[in-house]
Amino acid sequence: MAALILQTKGLTKTYAGVQANTDIDFALPQGQIRALIGPNGAGKSTFVGMLCGRIEATRGTVMFDGQDISRLPAHRRIALGIAYTFQITSIFPGLSVHENVGLAARRAGGNEATVSDVLARVGLTDRAGQSAGDLSYGHQRILEIGMGFAQKPRLFILDEPTQGLAESEVAEFKALITGLENTTILLIEHNMSVVMETAEFITVLNHGAVLAEGTPDEIRANAHVQAAYLGTEDA
């Protein structure tokens, strides 16, 4: 088994008495594409928020590449090689597409070549001079993913990246992330075709706890998972 890039132990978040995440033990081997799925309100965004430091954990530890990062602020975690895309598109709308990618690349030690390379990869070269805020919704999402690429992350966390994308854009997205090398991917996703086609392994959250883990085939066949999604008594 490959070395673990990310591991959590007992990760818990309580909001005013409501447990959003309860004692999550999670291990992610280097190089894997992992999907994190679960019904709405299962605590997926809270969980990844605690991984990258946007949300302070109530208790528990987060290890990144063998280092305890539980106490580090978000920007320090990012500097270690984590990239994160928001569930609701978050770019610099007033700046050019080129500058958006440039800001991501520079912080990670990249240069002009990194920017051109990323723009070409995500197909935004022609729009490099355009204001990011003027892009279509789909292009804005692709831009944000491109900014993640420019960071050359070792772990790339994507929160519902295909939400609101057209079919053709979803296909492009699948090609983009499966083509990444040296990057571990943690993907929150509702689109099951994306999950089943890209993920090597799936973790299912329900009610803020891990319900099941396994390969796409195992998860598909798991009765508990089906119940959680369909909302039967068993869940």
Partner: protein, 311 residues
């Protein structure tokens, strides 16, 4: 040479020539405008570029003004050391206020900076034995000299103001083009995204504020030096609001907006005072119209409509 730098140098050259072309009265006005533009450029770095709306910059302006004038008045400190004291005073005050005020955001940040500035103003009044409070004091004439140039003469004052204006403009021009400046703009545009790209947003904001406050302090010290007077009214609330108005009018986040805004507003007051005693009314109406129809200010609108390269 890029267009932005060429534009900045042209503006500086035009201002250099203006002294010989303009009538004495307007040259005097322009000297004052340039000093206030330094102040507004400092403010603009925090507000226009970093998105930090401070309502307490009079404190930093005042720290520079009193740093220079009190050391000259009471210790007989010569010009350069007095200027150094002014800059250090402004930097230290901003560093401390920034460290505390930046724990808040948005409206709370506005209120906290306003309160700090008010405390500074009251401090100046409290120590009126030295500051002479609102009444203020006149700086010793013999200390307002530099390398044989009399800074209280029309020409000495004008070119001293131009020199410091030019230095500040080129400095700001360089900052906003550098990666540091680009990261400040990123914070203004989307703070959460900047953090999640790995930028240490708190530290960058603090640095921006310290530079902003120090430049404001430079303006305060220069004002006292060139116009020979220091008083507590310069540390009061209106002096926190003025640079905001200049920057909004000229164009927030443009390098030359502060100059344009300061010139516009000072002449607006000046010209409307010629027409009526109720000049504030005319000025007010014009300001309302401008913010309604040019919400991005004069240069901001120009940049959006016609000149996208405008720095």
């Amino acid at each position: 040479m890029n267009r932005a730098l060429a534009l900045h140098l042209s503006v500086i050259a035009a201002l250099g020539a203006a002294f010989f072309v303009l009538p004495v009265y307007h040259a005097g006005n322009l000297a004052r405008i340039m000093v206030l533009a330094i102040y507004a450029m400092g403010f603009n770095l925090a507000f226009g570029y970093t998105g930090l709306l401070s309502l307490g910059h009079a404190l930093f302006f005042g720290a520079g003004m009193y740093g220079l004038s009190l050391s000259m008045q009471h210790l007989g400190t010569p010009l350069l050391p007095a200027m150094a004291i002014a800059l250090i005073a402004a930097a230290v005050v901003t560093a401390v206020v920034g460290a505390l005020a930046l724990r808040t955001k948005g409206v709370a940040f506005m209120i906290v900076t306003l309160m700090f500035a008010q405390a500074g103003y009251l401090t100046a009044l409290y120590f009126s034995r030295w500051t002479r409070g609102e009444e203020g004091f006149v700086l010793p004439q013999h200390l307002r000299q530099f390398a044989g140039v009399d800074l209280s003469s029309a020409m000495g004052r004008y070119y001293a103001a131009l020199f410091l204006f030019a230095v500040t403009l080129l400095l700001i021009g360089a900052i906003v083009r550098a990666p540091f400046g680009r990261s400040l703009i990123a914070i203004r545009e989307n703070e959460a995204r900047a953090t999640m790209l790995g930028y240490d947003v708190q530290r960058l904001k603090w640095l921006a504020l310290v530079i902003s406050g120090t430049i404001s302090g430079l303006a305060g010290a220069t004002y006292a030096l060139l116009f020979g007077y220091a008083g507590a009214s310069f540390a009061a609330v209106p002096y926190s609001i003025l640079p905001l108005l200049y920057v909004l009018l000229g164009g927030a986040g443009t390098t030359l907006g502060p100059l344009v805004g300061a010139a516009f507003m000072i002449y607006l007051f000046d010209l409307s005072a010629d027409i009526t005693d109720a000049y504030m009314l005319i000025a007010g109406v014009v300001l309302v119209l401008l913010t309604m129809f040019l919400p991005q200010g004069i240069l901001g609108t120009l940049r959006k409509r016609a000149l996208p390269w405008l720095p």
